[in-house]
């Protein structure tokens, strides 16, 4: 993986993805190792995403790397009309690797094309967010002890959620059974279902949240955004139909864990937070270990 860019999860083979997860487990055991001393990581956030930026910067600094960069809120020359190309070429003079988040689809791939140093995509518009997919896979592996033969329930906005799309496609590598809970208007798009069908895996679709709970090894909750609905009354109805609370967890499997890419609105009630099956805050921390693994592998020190 040395010097390779990560723009979409498909840029890494299954072996390489698993190697990253193994490395991440190493960093979880020993998170502070100054193996990237002398390296510079540039985090270029052309749109704000505090959570992802902090996670990358924390990963870099725990490994001893220096972090440079910006988060776009009128601080950078980006707003003064400098092209993405010029920004990338300038920054690549000062850094060893670029982490980019940008509102336009395909921006990370373009950056990688012109950049002399490797690029990690931290989200390009509605397109890809591969480090999220890897940290989701890591969280599943860690809580279940395996990735194969699991029942994964996805809940909420399955139509527009790119997190759900990439994770679903990644999980088709592991004989997963999919349980898809969503309002009719936010069902999983057919191009994602095609991946499930190509691997001859099973999927079940429900509109009632309770139908997706008892068989689940993982319940992956997502946020339903108001903007997706033309009718605000429809939104209110749907929003409250996919609210997971503690009383719903009584008959769940012992090993079941709840994931959420965060931030949440009200789809997981606060009374779930103290349930040992709630895993979303640890999931976010796992992002640091996965990003440490990626930085170390791409910079060639692991």
């Amino acid at each position: 993986m040395k010097n390779r860019s990560l723009l979409s999860i498909n840029d890494f083979s299954l072996d390489e993805q698993l190697k990253i997860l193994t490395l991440a487990a190493e960093f979880e055991k020993n998170p502070t190792q100054k193996i990237l001393e002398g390296f510079v990581v540039a985090t270029l956030f052309f749109e704000p995403s505090t959570r992802t930026k902090l996670s990358f910067e924390n990963a870099a600094s725990r490994l001893g790397a220096k972090v440079i960069g910006f988060s776009s809120l009128a601080t950078s020359s980006v707003t003064k009309g400098e092209s993405l190309k010029d920004t990338i070429l300038t920054v690549s003079n000062y850094a060893d690797i670029i982490v980019i988040r940008h509102p336009n689809d395909g921006s990370a791939r373009f950056a990688a094309e012109i950049s002399p140093i490797p690029v990690i995509n931290a989200g390009d518009g509605a397109n890809q967010h591969p480090t999220q997919t890897l940290l989701d896979m890591y969280s599943i592996l860690k809580t279940q002890g395996r990735l194969d033969n699991l029942n994964i329930t996805f809940v909420g906005d399955l139509k527009y959620g790119r997190t759900v799309h990439s994770l679903t496609i990644a999980l088709t590598q592991f004989n997963t059974t999919f349980h898809l809970v969503s309002p009719v208007e936010l069902k999983l798009p057919s191009y994602v279902k095609r991946h499930i069908k190509e691997k001859q895996l099973s999927y079940f679709q429900y509109t009632d949240l309770l139908d997706g709970i008892p068989q689940a090894d993982i319940i992956y909750m997502t946020r339903i955004q108001r903007e997706r609905f033309s009718d605000p009354i429809e939104y209110e109805k749907v929003k409250n139909a996919y609210n997971l609370n503690n009383s719903m967890l009584i008959n769940t499997k012992e090993n079941m864990r709840i994931l959420h890419p965060l931030p949440r609105v009200n789809e997981i009630a606060l009374d779930v937070d103290n349930n040992p099956k709630a895993y979303y805050f640890q999931q976010a921390l796992n992002g640091v270990f996965v990003r440490q693994a990626l930085l170390a592998a791409i910079l060639g020190v692991k």
Binding site: K85, D105, G106, F110, N127
Partner: protein
């Protein structure tokens, strides 16, 4: 008979050396000239549209003097004229005649349909894989991965 042949010759006259692109759908001729950048060319270019054709009803034809296209250049027009025939002329004689072929990749000439695609926000040449399904040709953007169908193709 002779007379009508003569009249055809007058409409779009013969060339000594160069390339003739025949059997272009009548309404695609000007798009084809743009794809081949003939508007920037300093050679003689003759264009005919809505000519009678036994096979195609109405057709268009383009004749370009002293210009011989590379395959990947000429094949770009297959997007708008898949039935076009390429005729290479030297000394008023046909030395080569073949059908255009749909290319596997297309660069620069078509706009990505996705308004949020980086190619619509930065000065970047577009790149597509040319794909085919039951509805015909479509293009998959190499940057944003979105598909541009035939009806949505806008030529740059």
């Amino acid at each position: 008979m002779e007379y009508s042949n003569q009249r055809k010759e007058l409409k779009v006259s013969a060339i000594e050396n160069g390339t003739v692109i025949d059997h272009i759908p009548a309404n695609s001729v000007f798009r084809a000239t743009r794809i081949l950048r003939l508007d920037k060319m300093e050679n003689q270019v003759l264009v005919g549209t809505y000519l009678d054709s036994k096979k195609y009803g109405k057709k268009g034809i383009i004749k370009v003097s002293n210009t011989f296209f590379k395959d990947d250049e000429i094949n770009k027009i297959a997007l708008v004229a898949p039935s076009a025939t390429l005729i290479v002329i030297r000394d008023f004689k046909v030395v080569e005649k073949k059908q255009v072929e749909i290319p596997k990749k297309i660069e620069k000439i078509v706009k990505c349909v996705n308004p949020n695609c980086i190619t619509n926000h930065e000065n970047i040449p577009t790149k597509f894989d040319v794909m085919k399904n039951e509805n015909g040709i479509y293009l998959t953007c190499l940057y944003c991965d979105k598909n541009t169908s035939k009806e949505n193709m806008v030529f740059l």
